[in-house]
Symmetry: C2
Subunit: 337 residues, 2 copies
Amino acid sequence: MAKKILLKDIAKKANVSVATVSYVLSKGSDSGISPKVSEKIKKIAKALNYRPNQIAKSLQSGKSYTIGLIVADISNPFFANIARIIEDEAKKHNYTVVFGSSDENETKSSDLITFLVNRQVDGFIIAPAENTQEQIKSLKKQNIPFVLIDRYFPEIDTNYVAINNHKATFDATKKLLASGHNAIGLIAYESELHHMKERIRGYREAIENKGLETHDNYIKKVKFSNLVDDINAKVDELLISENPVSAILYTTNTLAIHGLKRIDALKLKVPKDVSVIVFDAAEAFDFYYCPLTYVKQPLMEIGKNAVTILLDQIANPNHELSKMTLETTLVNRESSN
Amino acid sequence: MAKKILLKDIAKKANVSVATVSYVLSKGSDSGISPKVSEKIKKIAKALNYRPNQIAKSLQSGKSYTIGLIVADISNPFFANIARIIEDEAKKHNYTVVFGSSDENETKSSDLITFLVNRQVDGFIIAPAENTQEQIKSLKKQNIPFVLIDRYFPEIDTNYVAINNHKATFDATKKLLASGHNAIGLIAYESELHHMKERIRGYREAIENKGLETHDNYIKKVKFSNLVDDINAKVDELLISENPVSAILYTTNTLAIHGLKRIDALKLKVPKDVSVIVFDAAEAFDFYYCPLTYVKQPLMEIGKNAVTILLDQIANPNHELSKMTLETTLVNRESSN
DNA sequence: TTGAAAGCGATACCAT
DNA sequence: ATGGTATCGCTTTCAA
């Protein structure tokens, strides 16, 4: 068992105190220790392959240099991609990231936060699940730095990095209207989350803005708990009825994947039988026979800004909050014709 | 600023010593403290919402209850899915997982390992990049528990959870041969990694096993560093030549995604013009017009076993090593006809 | 310029 | 059944 090298070991070998070694190794050139001693210590440290015990440092400093990332599901490509960006950005600042998946579940989210708070993460980046307002407020009360991503609660004053959801679906719907569709279905989640409501509002306003009326039965909300079956049923309702829609706007990646499969199952063709716009550019869509028009989210900016804001908040707890709303881009392709 | 509650605070309120509080809170019923005092302490702890400082515990115990996960890229669906499984499994045992992406790069991998070792992770789960043998040996030497997944180095005695790569491609190739193909192309990575060599060997032996000869120019190895261009070029070589192949076996998920796109770009149809078998069932493939025959990896077993073996190794450092080879399944669909 | 020693917040040995 | 205190490895104040 290769013995762990401690400051003490180096001190002994160098015939100096532990304090001196600590100075040399942790401060820069302004350690206040003479160059001669400094060099000697550095050489010994290197020779012994000294690795500071980060845990001890953390206990002393009260900082773990770790950030907790909580998303709905780390295996969802949207979150997996953001995770990768956050990881890279965090590492640049010598931060480590630990992650947890809430599965959009309030209790899991709460357990996860507690778990990571106990582990003394310095802060959180969270894509909050529904009904987690109290958890978020609790973090605020405990003065634990965090920034919300993808979603946020307008009634709670927090840092967040989100997109302009209203404009995203407004533009998408407008595009479908411009293509001549006036019976447009919307597939959304049954959710109280603000971003979802905003996406629905964007859809509505685009239609009303054109002097048309919105039909509530064109707006379908599926339950996260029964995803696939529910999507299938709702897509059927939209497409197989007396007044079928001629276009569908899917408000998330996952909804689109399953919803498109259902369209296929119904033997309908995009865009001949039904036009479509989806959210995000999942790799899955690359193989779809019809190039899909989609709402492109600025993942890189979301991830990078989230880290920057969080680290800033950790360094300056009293710094004012950052509320960042980024714009999406509608990438026009054939499915929305 | 809500003050952090310490054992000391509880002790003061309960008029007992810090030690007593510690006993009550950390041991179970066998704390040796009288029920009356125990109850009082527990009540106060709950009332104050006491959260033990995990960092302090870690320093004392020498255990961080954290495992480091190192993969090529956390945003790759194969690894993202495994990450999720590992996360769930780890949490069951009260472990936290921190992750890092090596990008198949030796130096990044090394930096990452150092970074996480300093943070005192209790062990690693690693999908090792090429040429990282020394890093792995170094972990062994330092007696840091770890288990390799997906790939491993046969010349180094370690824990690992991998698949039977030889059989996977052997069966896949056999299937193509049975469908009447005798000019079968293979797209692999240019890599010294054992799993890649085994996949190539499986392909070769299936062909030779049928009394046919293998053609080296049917075996294409692409560079990770120049992925897309290289795949395109190699697919072209296989399909647009004097003796084109009639089938292609892609040895990874990513290779398949780009390789299939290239086939599309060449206006060739699967399986009419060229048959195909791919590795893994990426969500992306769901939208491919032709149902793809694929090698199915037991992700759940890989992830769960990796965690189990690692935690066992952490608990019993002298326990013998576990070398686990799992079988894949060839899921037959239309692309291999 | 250097070092002794007091923490950081828990745990656990050894007394009592 | 309790509690005093050394300890985990490092940082930092204060003195020398």
